[in-house]
Amino acid sequence: MGMLLGVLEAAKRALDLVPNVELVTLLLVIYTIYFGKRTYIIAFAFTALEIFFWGPHVWVIMYLYVWPLLVTIVLLIRRRADHWHYCLLSAGYGFCFGALCSVPYLFIGGPRMLLSWWIAGIPYDLIHGISNFLLCLVLFRPLSNACAYMQRVTGTWPEPRPDEHASGSDPSEHGA
């Protein structure tokens, strides 16, 4: 778990210089496919790490529900979803990211502030959604293969492999 958290944080830092291009969404999707509910721990630990590095900010409140919500969605769909569904989920999540993150502003400045904050950030959401889609399209299989490999080597994964459910093949084999 610590290693996965480290990879998540390193991926976040590596792309900090490129606004709204991030691997956190994709990594959390893949972690959830393989780790299931335990990914909640990684998501909250990731938020704690961010607070440790950057201090408490409004976006910390956002992180507290945005990432767990993503984990929840993947938990709900992972039995039937394939690579293409995750690409669409990643894109949609990027498009909706600003809207999701604007919720705290409802309590800070009311509906007007929420709407203006969300709308002002739409260009960034568009970049976020498109980059999420492309990253998932390109990196889902290699990352999924890596997770499957680790699973075979260590045999220590706490969740049943997704292919042990009724869904069929290994997620790394899933394709559009």
Binding site: W84, C87, L88, A91, G92, F95, L115, S116, I119, A120, I122, P123, D125, L126, G129, I130, F133, A176
Partner: protein, 135 residues
């Protein structure tokens, strides 16, 4: 075949979502605001003819406003730094040479002689500034 259909539906969905977001942004997003302060800048030349420039600006000082005008309109000026701020040498090609004939460019603010150089004269909403060639 089924997969191809699924891919197309997904792609169209993504493009549609992006288009809707873009439309919302274009319709309700922040618009470039006009400058917050209304101004009138008058230039009175050596014949007493007055040319006026009006508009809105966010310029903090008169020299900033003059730079804005010089960048976009039929206005030009030259100035130099002096002990008491910017000293205007010429406006719209008309040079005032104090050493030659005692001519200088004076600044008036709302009809009253200005207390500051152009780079220290604050721009306030609704003010009228006049650059006047005087001897």
């Amino acid at each position: 075949m089924k997969n191809t259909k699924k891919i197309w539906i997904g792609l169209i969905g993504i493009i549609a979502a992006a288009a809707v977001l873009f439309g919302v942004y274009k319709a309700f997003g922040p618009k470039a605001e006009q400058g917050s302060k209304a101004y009138t800048l008058e230039v009175s030349d050596d014949t007493g003819e007055v040319k006026s420039y009006t508009g809105r600006t966010d310029a903090e000082y008169l020299s900033d406003l003059m730079n804005e005008l010089a960048a976009g309109e039929d206005f030009s000026y030259e100035g130099t730094g002096g002990d008491y701020g910017m000293f205007i040498i010429s406006v719209n090609g008309l040079t005032a040479d104090y050493e030659k004939d005692g001519a200088y460019w004076a600044i008036y603010v709302n009809g009253e002689y200005g207390n500051y150089g152009a780079d220290a004269q604050p721009v306030s909403d609704g003010d009228t500034y006049r650059l006047s060639y005087e001897k």
